[in-house]
Symmetry: C2
Subunit: 206 residues, 2 copies
C-alpha cells in the first residue's frame, strides 16, 4: 500500500466532514463551529479537531471554521478533483443495484463498464453501462488505465477474480464478497461485509 501520512480511519472521516460542509455551503452557511460540524458528521468534537490537524486547519476560537476554506482544503487533501473511473465485476442482484446506486454518481464516480462470467445477463432496461465478458477484462483495464474496481461476485469466485484484476493492473478493490482477499502489497482492499455490519448491530442492541 502506498505510504500515506494520514491514518486510514481519519481519511474516511475527512470524507464525512467534506460531505457535511457541502450541505452547509448549499444552504449558504459561511462558518461552522467544530461542535456543530462534528455533530453533522456523527463524530466527537475532539475527534474532528484531531482529524483536521492533518489538513492544517485549526479553526478560530469563537468563530469556528470557514466553510468554503475548509472544504477547499479537504478537496485538495482528498484529491476529489481527480476522481477515478471504476469498473464493476459481478452483475448479479447486488452488482446491478450498485450500478444504479445514486450515491456514486452524486459523488462524481462513474462506473464505466460491468463484467460478468455471463455477459448476456440482463441488466435493468435502459441501462447505458456496457456489460462485457470476463475475457475482455484485462484488455479493457489496461487500455483504459482503470485502477479501481467494485467486486460483487459470489464468495467462491472472489479470490480468482481478484487475482485476474490485480494481474491486469487494478490497485484498489471495493470488496462486497464475504471473504478476506489476499492481494500483493501495493493493492488496497476495502471490505464491505454486510452480514458483519448486521452482526455488529445485533451485538449492541441485545
Amino acid at each position: 500500500m502506498p505510504k500515506s501520512p494520514i491514518p486510514r480511519k481519519s481519511v474516511y472521516r475527512l470524507s464525512l466532514y467534506q460531505r457535511a460542509l457541502q450541505r452547509l455551503r448549499d444552504n449558504g452557511v459561511p462558518t461552522v463551529s467544530s461542535a456543530a460540524l462534528a455533530k453533522a458528521a456523527g463524530v466527537k468534537p475532539t475527534q474532528l479537531r484531531k482529524d483536521l490537524t492533518h489538513v492544517g486547519h485549526f479553526g478560530i476560537r469563537g468563530l469556528g471554521y470557514d466553510v468554503e476554506a475548509l472544504s477547499a482544503s479537504l478537496t485538495a487533501t482528498l484529491g476529489m478533483t481527480t476522481l477515478q473511473p471504476v469498473i464493476l465485476v459481478g452483475a448479479g442482484n447486488l452488482g446491478v443495484a450498485l450500478l444504479h446506486y445514486e450515491g456514486f454518481a452524486k459523488e462524481g464516480f462513474e462506473i464505466v463498464a460491468a463484467f460478468d462470467t455471463d455477459p448476456q445477463r440482463c441488466l435493468a432496461a435502459g441501462d447505458k453501462t456496457p456489460l462485457l465478458g470476463m475475457g475482455d477484462l484485462k484488455a479493457f483495464v489496461e487500455s483504459r488505465l482503470i485502477k479501481m474496481v467494485i467486486l460483487a461476485v459470489p464468495a467462491t469466485a472472489a479470490q480468482e477474480a481478484a487475482n485476474e484484476l490485480v494481474s491486469a493492473g487494478i490497485q484498489g478493490i471495493l470488496n462486497f464478497s464475504p471473504i478476506i482477499l489476499h492481494v500483493p502489497d501495493g493493492v488496497v482492499v476495502n471490505n464491505v461485509d454486510l452480514a458483519i455490519e448486521l452482526e455488529n448491530l445485533s451485538y449492541f442492541i441485545k
Copy 2:
C-alpha cells in the same frame, strides 16, 4: 446506546475472527497460531491478541489457539445464538439486492418483511418476503418485537423513515442512505456509505 465493555471496532473484528475460525473448523484444523488467524482475518497479530483479551482467551505459546474453544467463546461473547429478525425499509434497486444478498442468510439473519411507500412495487419473481406499505410498519414492528432494520431509502426520505422506525420501537439501524441520521440515545446506527468507501479507496491509490 447500551453500555458495552468491548469497544465497537473490536466487536467488529471479533466477527471477522469468528468467520475465519468457522472456515478452519470446516477444514478440520484443530489449532491456529495468532499470526495465521490474524492473516486470515486481515488484521495485525498484535491487534488480534489485544482483541481476544476481551473474550478471556490468550492462546498457548507455541501451540496457538484451540479453534473449537475460541470459536465457542466468541459465540458466547457475540451472542450469535440469539440472532434477531430484521426488516427492510425501502424496496428500490439496492433494497431488493439486499433482500437477495446471500451473506445474510448464510449468517442466519432472516429479513422477515420489506416495507416501501409503494407496496405494489415489483420484487423479483419468486420472492417469498412479504412487501408491505409504510402504514403497516408500526403495527408489524410492535407485534413481532422487531428491533433491527436495514434502511435503504433515498437520502431525502431517510430521516423521516428513521423517526417512524424509532417511534415504533426499533433499536438498531443499518443505514445505507448517504446521510447522518439523528436518533435518540439507546438507538444504534451503523452507516454503510458506499460512495465514501470508494472515495477512501481512491485516496489510497492516487
